[in-house]
């Protein structure tokens, strides 16, 4: 009895230590990148005659200073979690999903259509609309998967091209068959009863789509590390040769990984329509799909990392407004900071040069595997 009890402990403690080490290692690198980029930002501010401390203070206040600011940050982060996950899942299968933007638009137009047609059903209509988003996104995402698996078309090219098809298709639908009578071009407004409700708590317009995004992150985690499908997706991504040797179907997993990614990004689009705007007006929000790539990159293609990365993106976006308001530093500096962070996260060798090899060793093997 006592021996049985000792054994799992003996095996767990090094595993636990490794888990902590992995986590610290995974976080260390993006954190270093963030610190360096803020230093660079400070230099830019000094050079343009601003006080970095005041500016960064305003940036932080605008991002996390009060419930309203936090709400704004979370509101911006929510769709980015979806599009970030869309990139991460595909990446785990060894695929670059650049199609998040188009998939996001497909989700948005699906939600705008179903939200209006099922609006009378109230919350049930909302749930069905979201399901519809997941479905259309799945099918849309599967297209480059099929092209890759059965015709060898590179997914980077096809997903980029399909972005154009999707955004113009959604725009066409919103402006023609689904166009409303209203002044603003776009679809009709969805009944309040069928919208995603606000969280409240003084968080402003932050809605329960955030909860859905967090659930999606958990689902992605479970999918990847607790299911057969995820096991196959990760094996295919890390070593197609070994996956094939083990009898796994590479084509099927390619299609599924991109399709699942598609439905995640589409849910992001659905959340924006059902939770934020209540309709798809044209022009719609742009770049959320593309920013998902940065979020996934920053989050090392791990669901937890994606959530943290999305919050950083959201925080910088909402804090920048406050920074511009109370100092002379323009909004665009936040974009510069983000760009530098992403640059450093990708250019691992550069950081190695700046902070020395120790930090890089700390970041561990994941780095090599991650990118």
């Amino acid at each position: 009895m006592s021996e049985e009890r000792r054994e799992p402990e003996g095996t767990r403690s090094p595993a636990f230590r490794r888990f902590v080490g992995d986590t610290v290692g995974a976080l260390a690198f993006p954190l270093i990148a963030i610190v360096i980029s803020f230093l660079i930002g400070a230099v830019i501010m000094l050079a343009t005659g601003n006080n970095p401390l005041t500016a960064f203070g305003a940036l932080f206040r605008g991002a996390f200073g009060d419930p309203l600011a936090i709400g704004r940050t979370l509101l911006t982060a929510t769709p980015l979690i979806f599009t970030g996950l869309a990139v991460a899942v595909a990446f785990r299968a060894g695929l670059f999903n650049i199609g998040g933007e188009g998939q996001f638009f497909i989700g948005a137009i699906t939600a705008a259509w179903l939200g209006v047609s099922l609006g009378s059903l109230g919350p049930l209509g909302m749930a069905l609309a979201l399901l519809g988003c997941a479905l259309t996104g799945f099918l849309w995402g599967a297209i480059p998967g099929f092209l890759k698996a059965y015709f060898g078309a590179h997914e980077v090219i096809t997903t980029i091209m399909l972005n154009f098809v999707a955004t113009y298709l959604a725009t066409y639908l919103a402006l023609n068959p689904l166009r409303s009578e209203g002044l603003v071009p776009g679809t009709a407004t969805i009944d309040l009863g069928a919208r995603i409700p606000f969280i409240g708590l003084g968080l402003g317009r932050a809605n329960y789509g955030l909860l859905l995004a967090l659930v999606a992150a958990v689902v992605v985690y479970l999918l990847l590390w607790r299911t057969r499908r995820g096991f196959e997706i990760r094996a295919v991504g890390l070593s197609p040769g070994a996956a094939n040797y083990a009898g796994m179907r590479i084509g099927l997993n390619t299609v599924l990984a991109l399709a699942i990614g598609g439905s995640l990004a589409a849910l992001g689009g659905g959340e924006e329509v059902l939770g934020v705007y209540g309709k798809m007006s044209i022009p719609f929000v742009y770049n959320i799909g593309f920013n998902g790539i940065g979020v996934a990159l920053l989050g090392r293609n791990h669901p937890v990392g994606v959530v943290l990365g999305a919050i950083l993106f959201g925080g910088l976006a909402s804090g920048a407004q406050e920074m511009q308001f109370s100092t002379d530093v323009p909004l665009q500096l936040a974009d510069v900071l983000l760009a530098v962070i992403l640059l450093l996260v990708t250019a691992t060798k550069l950081v190695e040069l700046i902070v020395g090899k120790r930090a890089r060793a700390l970041a561990g093997t994941r780095l090599e595997g991650g990118l």
């Binding site: 095996t11 607790r226 299911t227 057969r228 094996a235 070593s239 040769g241 070994a242 094939n244 093997t365």
Partner: protein, 522 residues
């Protein structure tokens, strides 16, 4: 030139001046000391064998000499003068030539073009092709390295390509030649040819460092042997005064069973059979061309042959990883041609692939994930689409311990293991499922002697338990010592069947495709 004459030269060679000395060379990678105060000397006109297991540090030392790595400490002397070698260009200028294990020739170019590449004779601004051909002819005449300067490298056999590599270094006036595992791609006859060429070269005043992990061949060709283990020089011995057993002990650090003991097992029913198999490679070429074979319970059928004669594709077609163009595969009498690798594995077929890094393991997976790479979708590891890492871990811990994988930590990543332990992890996975049929494709490629010993004894144990084993290997010794029958694969065809006591010559001729039609069934 006979062996005795070389022996006579040995004594002379050690007297002759030292052309190269590496003194106290140390090189660390992270926490590992790849070279720890390593010192070697090389005399003019001698062949120095550099013996050690994979990962002992031979290659690191030679990469330092060739300017690919900078040492952390230590110095290099050439002709008594201290030198610093910054890059391969430096090394070449100082007269060091290296023939890598994987050739660096450009297949569509001719022999002469390859030889002069990077140091072309010119006539004005144009390449002097005639000059290149003449230079090549002169060199090949002088050293007895027969090649046709005008033929395309792509059309040459591996043995001749290696000759071109050597000529390339001679054209750059190498005085010191480093050969990295040069015999791994050669038939026994080609190896003999290479050795006589090397003896000719040293008679002409060149000095050669011959890197290998094969004991036997060093005894035939070298003058002295430096043994490296765990990054340190263990000893340097005169070839004439040593033997295989002593070398093995020095290399591994303990006594080693060089020959495995094989019990008599009465072979039973055929368990694995291939019938008229035709298989294409990834490039679409037919590389297995009508192979039929049968492996019975309790026997090991060895497939000998030089690399690239269809071994990989044959194994993959039998295992179901690759679709056969035509023909049939039978497992225990049932036609499984239509079923995939997964279904065949569930019917009790184990397959140890020849490439552990690209096929056998997902290197960035944990060991427990690798241990269930084929059974992740079966109970108790999986139910209703979910997988249970805890159970996987527990089962992996047992298997890793039973097969002596170090470290036996299911959470370690496969990449962090040594080659030998990676291979043992694959063997653990494949054999712990109690398979009826085992396909082992180069199961000991690039692993240390200890792991070889272990894997061989595991295969023999499976044999005595009545399993049918197909052993595909490039190592003649391995095929010979384990197999009950040996077939030879040449250009995608089985060109003969022999018993394990067939001579090297007999096997070598078959491996070279000669004697194809006259089957020497014993």
């Amino acid at each position: 030139m006979t062996e005795r004459e070389t022996g006579g030269e040995t004594a002379g060679a050690t007297e002759s001046p030292v052309v190269l000395e590496m003194r106290g060379v140390t090189k660390t990678f992270g926490a590992t000391r790849a070279n720890d105060e390593v010192s070697i000397t090389l005399h003019r006109g001698e062949i120095l064998g550099l013996l050690g297991e994979n990962g002992a540090g031979k290659s690191t030392l030679m990469k330092i000499l060739y300017g690919l790595y900078r040492p952390d400490a230590g110095s290099i002397f050439m002709d008594g003068e201290e030198v610093e070698i910054h890059d391969p260009k430096d090394a070449v200028e100082r007269g060091i030539g290296m023939v890598h294990q994987h050739f660096t020739l450009i297949p569509p170019l001719t022999v002469a073009e390859n030889i002069v590449l990077g140091a072309e004779p010119r006539r004005g601004a144009a390449l002097d092709l005639e000059g290149a051909i003449k230079a090549t002819e002169e060199l090949s005449e002088r050293y007895g390295l027969r090649v046709d300067p005008r033929s395309r490298v792509a059309d040459l056999s591996v043995g001749v390509q290696q000759r071109v590599e050597i000529l390339k270094t001679l054209y750059r006036e190498a005085r010191i030649l480093i050969l990295d595992e040069p015999t791994s791609v050669l038939t026994p006859q080609e190896t003999e040819d290479l050795f006589s060429v090397l003896k000719e070269l040293v008679a002409d005043g060149l000095s050669i460092i011959f890197i290998t992990h094969k004991l036997g061949e060093l005894l035939g060709v070298s003058d002295r042997i430096t043994i490296i283990r765990d990054g340190r020089v263990v000893d340097t011995v005169k070839t004439a005064e040593t033997n295989e057993r002593e070398l093995a002990r020095l290399m591994v650090g303990r006594d080693v069973l060089l020959r495995v003991e094989k019990k008599d097992v009465e072979p039973g029913e055929p368990r694995l059979a291939g019938e008229e198999l035709v298989v294409r490679s990834n490039t679409g070429a037919v590389v297995v061309d009508g192979v039929s074979l049968e492996v019975r319970a309790g026997e090991i059928l060895g497939v000998a042959g030089v690399d690239g004669n269809g071994q990989t594709e044959l194994a993959e077609a039998l295992a179901g990883v690759r679709r056969a163009e035509s023909g049939h595969v039978y497992l225990d009498g049932e036609d499984v041609t239509a079923s995939g690798a997964d279904a065949r594995q569930e019917r009790g077929l184990a397959y140890v692939p020849e490439d552990r890094g690209k096929k056998g393991l997902v290197l960035d997976f944990h060991l427990y994930e690798n241990n269930t790479l084929k059974t992740y979708d079966e109970p108790p590891f999986s139910k209703w689409g979910w997988i249970f890492p805890k159970i996987m871990r527990r089962r992996a811990a047992e298997a890793l311990r039973a097969y002596d994988v170090r470290p036996p930590d299911p959470d370690a990543r496969a990449r962090s293991l040594s080659g030998g332990n990676q291979q043992k992890a694959i063997v653990a996975r494949e054999l712990s499922g109690d398979p009826g049929v085992i396909i082992a494709s180069q199961p000991t490629r690039g692993v240390d002697v200890g792991a070889i010993e272990f894997i061989h004894s595991q295969l023999l144990e499976q044999r005595s338990e009545g399993k049918a084993i197909l052993l595909i290997s490039l190592e003649l010794e391995e095929v010979r010592s384990l197999s009950d029958r040996i077939v030879v694969l040449y250009a995608g065809k089985l060109v003969g069947e022999v018993t394990p006591d067939a001579t090297d010559e007999e096997l070598g001729l078959l491996m070279a495709g000669q004697g194809s039609e006259q089957e020497t069934t014993a």
